[in-house]
Symmetry: C2
Subunit: 575 residues, 2 copies
Amino acid sequence: MAAVVAATRWWRLLLVLSAAGMGASGAPQPPNILLLLMDDMGWGDLGVYGEPSRETPNLDRMAAEGMLFPNFYSANPLCSPSRAALLTGRLPIRNGFYTTNAHARNAYTPQEIVGGIPDSEQLLPELLKKAGYVSKIVGKWHLGHRPQFHPLKHGFDEWFGSPNCHFGPYDNKARPNIPVYRDWEMVGRYYEEFPINLKTGEANLTQIYLQEALDFIKRQARHHPFFLYWAVDATHAPVYASKPFLGTSQRGRYGDAVREIDDSVGKMLELLHDLHVADNTFVFFTSDNGAALISAPEQAGSNGPFLCGKQTTFEGGMREPALAWWPGHIAAGQVSHQLGSIMDLFTTSLALAGLTPPRDRAIDGLNLLPALLQGRLMDRPVFYYRGDTLMATTLGQHKAHFWTWTNSWENFRQGIDFCPGQNVSGVTTHSLEDHTKLPLIFHLGRDPGERFPLSFASAEYQEALSRITSVVQQHQEALVPGQPQLNVCNWAVMGHLAGPEGPRLLPRRHRPPGATPEGDPRGPHRLHRRPRLPRLPLWPLPGPGAWTGLCAHPKAGEAARPHCVGLLCPGVREG
Amino acid sequence: MAAVVAATRWWRLLLVLSAAGMGASGAPQPPNILLLLMDDMGWGDLGVYGEPSRETPNLDRMAAEGMLFPNFYSANPLCSPSRAALLTGRLPIRNGFYTTNAHARNAYTPQEIVGGIPDSEQLLPELLKKAGYVSKIVGKWHLGHRPQFHPLKHGFDEWFGSPNCHFGPYDNKARPNIPVYRDWEMVGRYYEEFPINLKTGEANLTQIYLQEALDFIKRQARHHPFFLYWAVDATHAPVYASKPFLGTSQRGRYGDAVREIDDSVGKMLELLHDLHVADNTFVFFTSDNGAALISAPEQAGSNGPFLCGKQTTFEGGMREPALAWWPGHIAAGQVSHQLGSIMDLFTTSLALAGLTPPRDRAIDGLNLLPALLQGRLMDRPVFYYRGDTLMATTLGQHKAHFWTWTNSWENFRQGIDFCPGQNVSGVTTHSLEDHTKLPLIFHLGRDPGERFPLSFASAEYQEALSRITSVVQQHQEALVPGQPQLNVCNWAVMGHLAGPEGPRLLPRRHRPPGATPEGDPRGPHRLHRRPRLPRLPLWPLPGPGAWTGLCAHPKAGEAARPHCVGLLCPGVREG
């Protein structure tokens, strides 16, 4: 922690001394920050990471002009927790984005859940305000959909996007489609005002998200420093692309989505050049978790040479593509072997703004500026959690698995496969296997695919185990888990059981007089508290069989209590 | 064929018109040709192909300055046949580098085999002589070790290297180590004059091969055009590197070998620049077959996202890294999706020299110049043979498997695994499965890992099958198989059973008076015919259990007849 503070001070000094960033007032100005967060994109999905079709010329150019991280990790193999970790700089086990419903269960924020990002968490845009940043989120929020979790209550100044995944279409009455917001206002719903054609894969959303980003950059570039969090979701099943991109990829519809995102990133970087702010804008590209191989081959990306995918704590579940770009500051064509984490974007962004991270809590993110600007390598562990359980830890080149699990035999036999075509005996297990007494250890340099555990008797094993054990003990002794936000089968956090219906969303047809796309004159709370929409029942989530163990629907006349004994509930992914 | 001839003529015209290549005489001169052929290096082994450690800066730069082929194939999943195909432009089934001992069996040229490249085959250096080229092979020959197969009898002017793999060490008397040649002269043996330390992995061979290449380039660059075939073997198990590279890779010893080769390629390209012949030298980098996953993780490379490895006809067995470099002619930073083959290097090299391929035989290699110079894409199939059997065919994005096989259950249960960690039900079969009536078809764009066969009922399947069937029928109807050179369990081709001992190799201590490193005044035949070395008995090949089903050793007093009933013999790999 001390090192982080020191590096930050050093950087603040550099900023003061540098003439690179000058605001309209002529005062030194910290750089703009543009975080490009992909959804379910895998490590192997970019040409520069070896995707055979090589269809990402703009991202490949971004890598050639900047720094590529081959060893960069998400904070969780699932969407909501990973995103909460990015914005808080803290592991989901600390910020509450996990479940204790069962051991080692993934969880996220479906519509039934009333949990979300606690007010006690300090999010990146909140903190950046202190340095004068104006912040916008474009795309998927995923940190809770009740009013208290709204992005504009957590530091963002603007939002265009949705609180949740674009699953659907649903029945608009009993089971409303997921809403899309502009700031406080619900401006429509997926499959309605924002159509997604599941048959053809056509949707215009990436173009809308691109335009939102370009407009924001144009507006902000000459004034305050900006933080733009571009969290698009075209590569999350059901994948989509707009008409000019549909059918253009060798990789099918998933590739079409990637091509449209690649094109969009190219346009954003071009705009930064055109506005002459490229050398004052730090851009980082990464993804929330590994490719969702359960949707392969039509709707999933690639984790390259790595084992398994989304939902697992093997490399395929959490190792991500990661590119940093900042012309004139980050030298072109570099590769950094720094072990990086999505949580580092929190601390690094604060350092760019000349700020220090909060000192009243544990922060897991590292300030990457020494790696980015000086090519330094810093020791740090990577922790792989699944729900409440530390499944694995990487330190240097060695990764120790304390628990292994893909999913249950029951689900696997139903065709739900997180590791299609892959099977490493004793490693890709279909029961939750306890290795805490004798962890499986892999050398990720010689064996990136986690196929050959080190011999327990080897000196290398003993040495690696000793180093990792020490770090893990330190981590666990200091750990104060946050209140779990994603428990289900729990009356307190399930929306339909939470007593009086909570505040609901405002469809366009019910927009109060005076409400504009920029906001409602009566304030956000009033806007959100009326009128009531129908209560959301439990509903089985759609998708290719990926969602498991839903609570049974209550029959008419039954108490609306989910049948949870022996079952999992929406929002908790079994494995 | 007509198209190839036309393209060649067009190119000859271009050469005449171009002032780029001028010999010492001032006459137009075709470009030098430098083929860099790796041994058991996989598609995923270069940084530019996504290898996570990113330790190939020189090869990555070569790609950035030239053209990268993501869809380039060897002609066979094993060494000897692939190399014979490169130099003849013809599939092994045509040039004889296969076996009919059993169905779909891989075979190569161990020391017991007297077969080799037939005189009737016309090799690339033979043909290039017509355009004034001086040719040298540095490294592994692998096209037969009897005198009639010597590289200098097949068009090469110089050789430094070995006829075979660097397995060993062997007993020098009963089982001599594999010899190393300079031209006609045996200058030593592996593990003796050319030490390889199996314990530390240290060997100086890549440095020797590099120096041979640099010396040749320096000597030739100002005179005749040259053809240099740099066939190094440090990445073939037992992998090795010289002291400065040992222990420097994140990937272990295999990575050390790759780093030394990468460094060597950098030095060669630098020399071409220094000599001002870079723009008159066509350089191509590729590998003979996929990474030998049986030697993983310590001694094997990576096939990236592809299925299985060496010895198989899945993508991991035959898809190769491939880079073309020719400053001023091939534009920098290009990717070509042309389906390419190692056999194309034959036809393309001839085209560069202004020559046409032989017209009296079927040539499988394509002239790649339209792809290299104009970015054109040409339709062509890729045939995946294993021994005498056409296992699979790719056309466009679709690959049809007519037969599937990894290796036998018996061998697999002994731990011999060509697909470690991978298992695709009904695809990675451990018995030879006949799909000829209903081929398995994969779309390699959406599913490069061959995990999801298309539904037999789909329109896509029917359309792809129809296209591929037509091409395969045409291929098979016109096919005239060559006399198989690699049959074993066959008295006629087994060295120790071939009657009077054939001509043997000349150890330094028996060098005839007057013989110099440049050659023997009495001529190669005499040099090779005396004195006799001990007869080579059958011996079990070394390695990590990769070699299977060796003929039983005859006991003392038994007839020296291999016990072949129900067994395979040296040189035939079960698969």
